[in-house]
Amino acid sequence: MTTKYTEDHEWIRVEGDTATVGITAHAQDALGDVVFVDLPEVGKTYAQKDVAGVVESVKAAADVYMPVSGEITEVNEALRDDPSLANSDPLGAGWFFKVKLSEPAQLDALLDASAYDDFAKNA
């Protein structure tokens, strides 16, 4: 199990040929209190960098991008009902969706934890 990060401030945790995606602690802090999420449709296929969802605080809205290409296998219904999970537990209960990887090699170009920390510090 490995976790990678994107410059869009998302994390992707890979287990076999599927991965779980969410927003980072830095992202939720920058957004503030999350009040709404729009999640992708289960079964739909997206290319890397496609907009797959939206996360909104009172103040701002941000797109959620696909960190890799693949098919959505599950979305976090608990997050839809309680968007504040993205603030209180961004790396755990506040996950957004699961994706079946169609091009696992894309993972290689994503950031590891320390590279992301450096990136976020300078963002």
Binding site: G32, V35, D38, E56, V58, K59
Partner: protein, 375 residues
């Protein structure tokens, strides 16, 4: 984004940093958008207790001289001459087409008119006022003074400890106070829909007075983020979003701000920029093509500014100018311009959010009841 270091700073800049505020550029100033408590907590604290806002970026100016009221009245469709001593009123500077140059608050202090305008408009307003009436009265900008707002149901309790007598003011009145040798001018008014006060004071005393307020158990600092959600729930316009030089007072549903004495048939009817158009819109002889309304979403999807609105049969009928999920309202609320045929309370419309129709209903404003103390 502008470099924060190149921005102007209010007298509370060091205090904002000490309190851990997130600073953003706003109206040429570095301003606190939120403190560590966060927008939501700051919003609720203002509705439940008392929030302290730094609004020193706004423009304060004095108009003085025997002709000040008559002169100022020639720039606005409102009754300036008839405003009683120590009373405050909402005003609108208009251009020749009846478009709104700025909205403002002014008080008749007897010796002068004390005017507060929007921060982003203040230099333009000053130029406009000086060019139009500078020969008839003395226009004195006081852009270096501090301005604080203390808002919420417990604001009066906190303020009266520092300024005994503040409790005797009622909504939209003002009075001078002295605090530790500094001259303060306080009005009972604000931009949140709550009871509260705005306090104008010398820059040198602003931080000390803000610290004294923050030492009161009811008071916490509140940033621009919550200021926006509070004013929107109160149904109040934000200049630049909900009103601008392309909107007239009648289109903006601000006809209530035009007193009878300035309307057709009134004793001092007209005589302000854009009067022919505004008065014709007001009496219906020149129908408007759009009207500002409140909207409430029937689904829990925030509907933001610039979102297109369509009728239930798919015609484009307007656009949202401000919108967010109201923390106290508990649902998405918005201000928007729609065609007059869709401006009646209860009318169903659709907001097009990311290609999907979100049903909304035209609603009366405020979205959260006002709690002004009218005495």
């Amino acid at each position: 984004m502008a470099d924060l270091n190149e921005l102007l700073q209010t007298p509370l800049h060091a205090l904002h940093l000490e309190l851990g505020a997130r600073m953003v550029p706003f109206a040429g100033y570095a301003m606190p958008v939120q403190y560590p408590a966060g927008l939501m907590a700051e919003h609720h604290h203002t509705r439940n207790a008392a929030g302290l806002f730094d609004v020193s970026h706004m423009g304060q100016l004095r108009l003085s001289g025997p002709e000040a009221a008559t002169a100022f009245e020639s720039l606005m469709p409102v009754d300036v001459i008839g405003l009683g001593l120590n009373r405050q009123r909402y005003g609108l500077l208009l251009n020749e087409e009846g478009g709104i140059i700025d909205d403002l608050m002014f008080v008749n202090r007897g010796s002068d008119l004390f005017v507060i305008v929007n921060g982003a408009c203040k230099h333009g307003d000053l130029t406009h006022i000086q060019a139009r009436i500078g020969g008839r009265c003395t226009v004195t900008p006081q852009f270096d003074r501090g301005l604080l707002a203390l808002q919420g149901p417990q604001a009066v309790r906190a303020l009266q400890r520092l300024l005994p007598g503040a409790e005797s003011l009622v909504f939209m009145t003002g009075r001078a106070f002295e605090w530790e040798g500094a001259g303060l001018y306080v009005t009972r008014s604000g931009y949140t829909g709550e009871d509260g006060f705005e306090i104008s004071l010398p820059a040198a005393s602003t931080e000390a007075f803000a610290r004294a307020l923050l030492a009161q158990p009811e008071v916490k600092p509140v940033g621009l983020g919550a200021r926006n959600s509070l004013r929107l729930e109160a149904g109040l316009c934000l200049y630049g979003n909900d009103i601008d030089t392309s909107t007239t007072p009648v289109e903006a549903s601000l006809g209530w701000a035009i007193q009878k004495v300035r309307r057709t048939g009134g004793e001092r009817a007209g005589g302000f920029p854009g009067a022919a158009r505004v008065l014709a819109q007001l009496d219906g002889s020149e129908p408007v093509t759009r009207k500002r309304v409140g909207l409430v979403a029937l689904e829990r999807v925030p509907v933001r500014e610039h979102t297109e609105l369509r009728s239930t049969d798919g015609q484009s009928i307007g656009e949202v100018t401000s919108g967010l999920l109201g923390p106290t309202a508990g649902k998405p609320v918005a201000l928007a311009y729609v065609t007059p045929a869709h401006a009646t309370v209860g009318t169903r419309v659709n907001a097009i959010v990311r290609g999907k129709a979100v049903p909304m209903e035209v609603s009366a404003t405020p979205f959260v009841p006002n709690r002004y103390v009218r005495g």
